[in-house]
């Protein structure tokens, strides 16, 4: 059946607000009588804090509060609780907060920060994750064994390994013994930053009863509430997290504990007045979050015809000074480590390792970009050696409907990989002669979603037929408000314009695990569908009485209930509500979705992914023979979304994800000095793609309906930048015969390799 709202490229409901400048972001909000907060950050990557002298800062007129690590003893963290709100005994990365000031103006707060004196005793710095795994390496966290953590997390006490994970399927030794060829390669990836154009912000207020309200750019308001409550030893009801109406991008960086920890520490001392902080761009680079640098060793055994028999993957994820989401990034990446292929013998070992560097965590792709860099680069090394074209070898090994997942946890369904590969490669000729220094490249990939995790929604139908959708899904830019409105409208039989979508507020909007992991369309979509269906059922029940028909014999279209047998018998939502509720009442529809309704799971992150997203990308490049500069000239991205709720926003995700992946492939890298300092924390020295770098992009939506998804939908956003870096590297190899194994592929690096003939 064709739907009126679902599957339509309905214009975004937030677009007019955003093109007129009336959309309110965090820094645009007016916090009555707020003080301004500033942090003092450590210049050292690893040092004992001997003494902090705040006396002079406190004497500065206009200063309202100064806090240090001694003022707030709290450890937070989603999977492993290792993160102090303010460093107290020692600092573990350059940029870590050691004190904070609240003052009447930003200028006074800055001045006061300069007046704080800290005595440090420098400690040995460890920046290389492989060296950090050495038993003799300096320990970033001496008390790792004492930290609380989720059941699935496995820290190794007395080391810098905060999580290790292993997946074994079959017998890799047997598989390698039976192989005709064996390939062994090591690939590395660099540290990058999310660079959402809106910097992180937060404001906090503490009332006389000790209840804390936080306004914050965070992609999981309920998750943050839980994190804060656990860290501060407060019941959930004492913490209220409110999202600003809009968030200026996040890509994973705006989760976990960030700026609000400092605001809360300060607000505990400002007698009910709020404290607001906005990070500078430099602080966003050094002190918010980065993507894990990684070292990935991959060994693959194949038959002469290209069939993969065995694959062993060792991955090391450098999570920096605190675990943040590192352990689960490492875990999720490990489950996807062998690539989306049918391989009988698999062994994956993942290590998440502390170093004295900026904190790494979630970044669109959640670790899959790194493993895809390895397995997709190596697929082309194998294909070239065996004389098979890049598409053929992938199609030969690709997972299909009903296959066991590569690391053996589950049977796969809604598997659109083959179609993605075929569509992305349609019309591509691999064997024709082509211009010198022009290359074609291909890569594919898959991505899981955090499982199990829950979402709830409420649908409120008011007396004039207006519909409010109460959800804690955050509009980060992805278009969630529009898509959830489409789903609610579809189920209720009203136009999208009848729906208003709430802004998250943990006191008012029901639970949602987080707006991450490409989970919202699926999880919150299911909750919204149930909630709207519940409201619909209540409306039909009332209408049935009015129309004298059984509910089962009623239909709904454009906000009007009618008898299926006699369309003249009809009543509008407005009249249903008026009829039933003359004294005033709302219809309240409830909906919750949790993949594990039996409640038998072993906690967050413990179950196999409820769905997998698949995608394939084709790239063409020109390489400048003189300079090594790479120009990407064409990209085709085919992505399996299950079902596209809004094709235009899906295209936007594919295009945006591809360019966001092209940056780290060719130019982006946070440079870390020997002492752990960030050397390029600004947009002049850290290069982002601009409009001039954009090639022709062809987004292709593949639909392989997922039986569990709302209208068959899965997710998309995170998958879109997974295959792009290896696709570009493969095209560069095709163009100049040089294989680069460490990202990014800068002109300098490529030219050097071309001259050395690697």
């Amino acid at each position: 059946m064709k739907q009126a709202c679902v599957g339509q490229s309905i214009l975004r409901i937030d677009a007019v607000d955003k093109v007129t400048g009336s959309a309110v972001f965090g820094d645009d909000m007016d916090f009555n009588r707020a003080f301004y907060g500033k942090a003092l950050r450590s210049p050292f990557a690893h040092a004992r804090i001997v003494a902090v002298d705040i006396r002079e800062a406190l004497r500065l007129p206009g200063v309202k509060a100064v806090v240090t690590g001694k003022d707030i003893q709290a450890l937070g963290g989603e999977a492993l609780k290792d993160y102090p709100f303010i460093a107290s005994d020692k600092v573990r990365y350059a940029g870590e907060a050691v004190a904070a000031v609240a003052a009447v103006t930003e200028a006074i707060a800055e001045k006061a920060v300069d007046l704080i004196r800290v005595e440090y005793q420098e400690l040995p710095v460890v920046t290389d994750p492989e060296k950090a795994m050495n038993p003799k390496a300096p320990l970033v966290h001496e008390r790792l064994k004492d930290y609380h953590h989720l059941p699935v997390i496995q820290p190794v006490a007395g080391t810098n390994i905060c999580h290790q994970v292993r997946f074994i399927k079959g017998d890799v030794d047997k598989g390698f013994a039976e192989s005709d060829e064996i390939f062994e390669d090591t690939f590395t990836t660099q540290m990058i930053q999310h660079c959402a154009i809106e910097p992180h912000m937060a404001a906090a207020r503490v009332d006389a009863g000790g209840s804390i309200t936080v306004w914050v750019t965070n992609d999981g308001p309920h998750r943050l509430r839980k994190d804060l409550a656990e860290a501060l030893g407060l019941p959930l009801k004492k913490i209220r997290v409110i999202s600003p109406p809009y968030m200026g991008g996040g890509f994973g960086a705006k989760g976990g504990l960030k700026v609000e920890t400092l605001c809360i520490a300060l607000a505990l001392k400002t007698g009910g007045r709020p404290v607001k902080m906005v990070l500078t761009r430099e602080e966003v680079f050094t002190s918010s979050l980065v993507r894990h640098p990684s070292v990935i060793k991959i060994k693959t055994g194949v038959k002469k015809d290209g069939t993969i028999l065995a694959r062993e993957v060792d991955l090391i994820y450098d999570t920096g000074a605190y675990s943040e989401k590192g352990p689960t990034v490492c875990q999720q990446a490990s489950t996807a480590g062998p690539g989306p292929y049918n391989i009988p013998h698999v062994k994956v070992s993942g290590y998440c390792v502390y170093t004295n560097k900026p904190v790494a965590g979630a970044f669109r792709g959640y670790g899959h970009t790194q493993v895809a860099w390895a397995h997709e680069s190596q697929m082309d090394i194998i294909a070239a050696k065996l004389g098979i074209n890049p598409v053929e070898i992938r199609l030969k090994n690709a997972v299909r409907e009903g296959d066991i997942s590569p690391t053996g946890q589950q049977i796969l369904n809604s598997v659109g990989l083959t179609e993605c590969i075929q569509k992305a490669a349609a019309g591509v000729r691999w064997d024709e002669p082509k211009q010198a220094f022009h290359g074609q490249g291909f890569a594919c990939g898959y991505k899981n979603t955090k499982t199990p995790s829950g979402s709830s929604a409420l649908v409120k139908v008011s007396q004039d037929g207006s519909v409010e959708l109460l959800t804690s899904t955050v509009e980060i830019g992805q278009g969630a408000k529009t898509i959830l409105a489409q789903m609610a409208a579809e189920e209720l039989g009203v136009p999208v314009t009848a729906i208003t979508v709430s802004t998250p507020d943990t006191d008012l909007t029901p639970y949602d695990a987080s707006t991450t992991s490409s989970r919202s369309t699926f999880h919150m979509g299911n909750a919204v569908k149930k909630a709207a269906g519940d409201a619909r059922g209540q409306i039909l029940k009332i209408a049935a009485q009015v129309l004298g028909q059984p509910p089962a014999e009623l239909g709904i279209e454009a906000g009007v209930v009618y008898a299926l047998k006699d369309r003249q018998k009809r009543i509008s939502y407005t009249d249903v509500l008026k009829n039933q509720c003359r004294a005033g009442i709302d219809i309240l529809g409830r909906g919750s979705y949790h993949p594990d309704d039996e409640g038998v799971c072993a906690g967050p992150w413990s179950s196999p992914s409820i769905f997998w997203m698949y995608g394939a990308q084709y790239v063409e490049v020109d390489v400048d023979a003189e300079t090594g500069q790479v120009r990407v000239t064409k990209i085709v991205g085919a992505h399996d979304v299950g079902r596209a709720i809004n094709p235009m926003t899906c295209e936007g995700q594919i295009e945006g994800g591809i360019i966001q992946g092209m940056g780290p492939a060719l130019m982006e890298e946070m440079l870390i000095g020997e002492k752990g300092e960030v050397r390029n924390p600004n947009f002049l020295d850290y290069k982002l793609p601009t409009a001039r770098d954009v090639p022709e992009i062809l987004p292709i939506i593949v639909e392989t309906p997922c039986s569990e998804g709302p209208w068959g939908a899965k997710g998309l956003g995170e998958m879109t930048n997974v295959p792009i870096a290896p696709a570009i590297a493969n095209a560069i190899y095709d163009a100049v015969g040089v294989r680069i194994k460490d990202l990014p592929i800068t002109a300098e690096k490529l030219l050097k390799a071309m001259r050395e003939g690697k």
């Binding site: 490229s9 214009l11 975004r12 937030d14 677009a15 007019v16 607000d17 955003k18 093109v19 007129t20 400048g21 009336s22 959309a23 309110v24 972001f25 820094d27 645009d28 999310h194 660079c195 959402a196 154009i197 809106e198 910097p199 809009y246 968030m247 200026g248 991008g249 890509f251 906005v278 500078t280 761009r281 980060i476 830019g477 992805q478 278009g479 235009m648 926003t649 295209e651 936007g652 295009e655 945006g656 994800g657 591809i658 360019i659 966001q660 600004n682 947009f683 002049l684 982002l688 793609p689 601009t690 409009a691 001039r692 954009v694 992009i697």
Partner: protein, 156 residues
Amino acid sequence: MVSIELKVNGEIYAVSVKSNETLLDVLRDKIGLTGTKKGCDTGQCGACTVLLDGRPVPSCLMLAVDVKNRDILTIEGVARNGALHPLQEAFVSEGAVQCGYCTPGMILSAKALLDRNPHPTEGEIKEAISGNLCRCTGYVKIIQAIAVAADRGSVK
């Protein structure tokens, strides 16, 4: 503190500012026009772009005291009499908006382009917005929206 008059979106605002206050901070904090965004405060991201006598400038690098009596156009002044500018319409219809944080600056850079060059090539469009960083869209639909607005015939 210095008392100055700023002409923003055709209206005169009398404000008292410090000599080191940027136009961006004065627009946002003293005049209350928060549509102009702060992304880096160092002139590197383009989110704070406004038009100064029709030319795009990063308002975070302009001192408020230096732009008195000049024509300043912010995103709030682009729609006229409640009607969206063709660029704004095209950004909506082409799906050029995601998070929206770069959008005001993008639209103003594009407006400056179309005002002096109503029929730009794709290369000219890319050049005109190359100082405006966007991390969501991959620029594709933004470039498309500007081309569509140019086709529809932009009005000043």
